[in-house]
Amino acid sequence: MSRKQKKTLRRIIIAAIVFAIGIAMGIFYPESDGVMSPLFYVRTFLLIAAYLIAGFDVLLKAVRNILHGQVFDENFLMTIASIGAIIIGEYSEGAAVMIFYQVGELFQSVAVGKSRKSISDMMDINPESANVERNGEITETDPSEVQVGETVVIKPGERIPLDGVVIFGSGSLNTAALTGESTLRDVTEGDEVISGCVNTDGLLKIRVTKPYSDSTVSKILELVENSSTNKAKTENFITRFARVYTPIVVIGAVLLAVIPTVFIGLTSGEWQWSDWVYRALTFLVVSCPCALVISVPLSYFGGIGGASRHGIMIKGANYLEQLAKAKMFVFDKTGTLTKGSFSVTEKHPEGISENELLSLCAAAEQISNHPIAASVVKTAKAANANNEIPKAENAREIAGFGVEAEVDGKKIHAGNARLMKQIGLDITEYEAAGTVVYCAVNGVYRGYILVSDEIKEQSRSAISALKALGAEKTVMLTGDRKITAEKVAETIGLDEVKSQLLPDGKVKALEEIYEAKPPKSTLAYIGDGMNDAPSLARADVGIAMGALGSDAAIEAADIVLMNDNIENLPLSVRIARKTRRIVTENIVFALGVKAAVLVLAALGIGNMWLAVFADVGVAVLAIINAMRCMRITQQ
């Protein structure tokens, strides 16, 4: 509790004690209630004292706000309601309403403070200080004061304060704070490290490469802090609604007090104000829109906070709202659904073993700089226990065809179908998703290997999870050949593929997909932030993947998945949907209870106590409900 809250609590306790004495008097000396006696005056004095102790600040604020031209605020309403109660002789009611209102407000303030803190703590990746080595001495300074090029010492258990390069020592870094996944990454001299990771063991010295303001941590913090400025439509609607709700209820209260009384007075000749005025006052107590105004943004804030714990950075409540409505998901292929790195995925030897085929191809391909050749060599090395491949002699590259070399005295040709034809071999061309490398030994065809971009293990399950969540269409955009693209799409389970797209064709393809979009739904584009910034911007929600360390992607996207796990996409959708559901729940619940109390009050059934519950009680329940947005886990 803050100092201000503690002060309020003390005041409430004193007011409650005074109030209790007053009530007790009424019970033990029934004559003090209603009969004009000295005891009656003592009791009335006690109740009014309790009222003032509890609510003087509310009264003051009400007066001050009226002077500033702000009439319809909660202070004004509580003042009118409680003073009204006292005027019609309901002293205990007036005092009780004020005390309960203050208890509720205090509870609300503590609950909001707590929730806010637990969400902010979760998102807190800010390094508090940096140990800089200056002139051989280590001094603790603020990270923002460290210059580029200075040396920072990071002890085990400490957070890396600024982006840099390791110049001494080695250790394991935990990236959990950034990616939501507790994975350890070993680093040693010469490796780049990013701020926000925690050094779990070993002493590290790093040379700072970026000032604090450009470091990963401050980029992310900026993103998170700005997220609450992008308000959701619902949030704006509630604010606008709040502006009309209060005046309407107040007018209703006035009508409720005047019309029935005048009507009864004119027809029967008896002017009975207090009953209808009491009902009207009850109206006033429920007229504050607090529960809505607090719980809606808190729900979104909770959703954004909960997402950040999984390494999902959402730039604003509006994007969360858009994502909840997404029915179409458009993916970039390379780097998003696939790993973006080539490797040998299939081996089809003829007359020799798989390993032999691979190592012969690799031996010949060693001389080539082609990325396909490099990946063959890499795979072959990895497949071999001692990380070696046979040496090649008289190797030469035949541009556009492949390579020719001698390995262990055998003449090897490795390359495309044209190369095989050139050396007089008649082979059946193999249609596959990727690049096929054919191999001939001493002029005899020995099979082929397939090099392709590996599909991420999680892609398939992520797509089916999306479909289970009601995704109507999943589309992949790629610059790849049709056959490669279709094979990948089929493996993953995508509905549609648009292949052979030039880099600028992606946005155009996206436009075409837009036309088929079901009404009232949105389209999400998921890319890795490389070359697809226009698409990320064009989609209703642009989601960038594996953005750790990529500033461009963080800039361009609306939602950033910090780690490379595409399963975070369906998780994001679930968080968005859950948040939307809770927001709806809160709106319906708060308005429903208030409407019910208004009806009961108008009928004369509900009393002021009920109204106080409808006001602050509902707000507190809505806050507690909003906090559920924070808790969601990977299935």
Partner: protein
Amino acid sequence: MKKTFKLIDLDCANCAAKMEDAIKKLDGVTNATVSFMTQKMTIEADDAKFDEIVKQAVKVCKKVEPDCEIVLK
């Protein structure tokens, strides 16, 4: 220019919305947000008049919620 300020003791969400409204109405302000959740206020306004606008913003906020303090750095 866009600048963010910290707010202390902003305890009512309704007031935050009112402050935001009032600041937006100030002359020269292009955009303003008062976030109850992060207890922060962001003002986007003309460079030339920025300091003057911030002063006015503090004044209107005091009007709405006198208990709330704006940290000017």
